[in-house]
Symmetry: C2
Subunit: 204 residues, 2 copies
DNA sequence: ACCTGAACACCGTTCAAGT
DNA sequence: ACCTGAACACCGTTCAAGT
């Protein structure tokens, strides 16, 4: 039988990452972590300080895991859109970890590779200086919007999709639009529409 | 001296709302709530069931509080932009409560009044049907992006604004843009740029 | 240097008991 | 119908004690 591997900061973080990915952040308690590692709860404190430091260390690990992005397409427009979609997919695949990064104000870490790729694409499209920066940050903001509302929301325990009444009397807009506005938002469609509008608007 | 008012669901929710607004969601424990009300912890359970139901009830209250929006401006473009900014201000003023609504998947409740106002403005601009719905949802998505990244983020305990390296070698974009991209994002500026780009892109 | 066990001050929740 | 107090199973964290 194998000799028991000694406890280390690496092993603690690996186990913590495993619990978060498997059962969510709520399942990550110091006691559960200790049980997983077959060790006394207090042993963990020697390696990672306390729970806040443990979470912070986990967040710093996320960048490399989640930031793995693919950029495709011939035109700059296509490359911006494909990068945004790739980032969104990656965020979706690592929901709990991204939520953790969000809570620690470290979303920039997750978005960095995509930011670089999008800046390059906009540069290819002829944007320079402040206009390039604004365009890049705007697209990232759009992806953040979608990932933080839709994907994070759909992972939350409670799910409420019933619509909210928008007008008391007859809607002051056309009937078809009014009907659709009262149905649940098709977030995927909205994301596509928003992304296209932003890219169009940013490239004049 | 006044006779002690009997405990009621209303009084429990009022006290809970007070704690959340004063000290944040983390400060809202059943025991703290009981202490605030001068009552045994278990008395609360008779009126609100449990903590999950209490939070859900709080979220349903938020709509009316946060959704109070002002729309100004002559042109439809101005009215869309002013509504978005007014919503953003309101979200900023009720950070903890909006965070609560977010966790319960009930952001739609908070956004409803602004959604109606924006739909009217876009309708005035000539949009109809699916295009009107897409435009309305897209603008709401933008406000959600900004409020959930910037305002909610800036309220989180940990604050990290140091930049993340985007390229290992020389940046493949112009020097000014590269320098700016490595500085902390001016989220207010990005919000304005994004909002303008979206409105432009959506109105052809 | 690394790990354990007891202890402390917190949680949310249940339940029998009171009025 | 409404409220209390004791109790249970959880938390994160500290600290003296072991090797």
């Amino acid at each position: 039988m194998p000799v028991a591997e000694p406890l280390s900061r690496e092993r603690v973080l690996d186990a913590a990452m495993g619990i978060v990915e498997a059962d969510g952040i709520a399942a990550l308690s110091m006691r559960a972590l200790a049980a997983q590692l077959g060790v006394a709860v207090t042993a963990i404190y020697w390696h990672v300080g306390n729970k806040a430091e443990l979470l912070a260390a986990l967040v710093e690990r996320i960048g490399t895991d989640v930031g793995d992005i693919r950029t495709t397409g011939r035109t700059p427009e296509q490359r911006v859109a494909s990068t945004a979609r790739s980032l969104l997919q990656s965020i979706d695949d690592h929901g709990a970890l991204v939520g953790l990064a969000h809570q620690h104000g470290r979303l920039a870490l997750v978005f960095a590779p995509a930011r670089a790729a999008i800046a390059e694409a906009f540069s290819d499209a002829g944007l320079r200086g402040a206009a390039l920066v604004d365009a890049t940050n705007a697209v990232i903001q759009v992806v953040a919007a979608y990932s933080l509302t839709e994907s994070v929301m759909s992972r939350s325990p409670v799910q409420r999709t019933d619509a909210v009444r928008l007008w008391d009397g007859p809607p002051p807009i056309d009937a078809l639009a009014a009907k659709r506005l009262h149905q649940p938002v098709d977030t995927e469609r909205t994301f596509q529409a928003l992304l296209q509008a932003v890219i169009r608007g940013l490239l004049r």
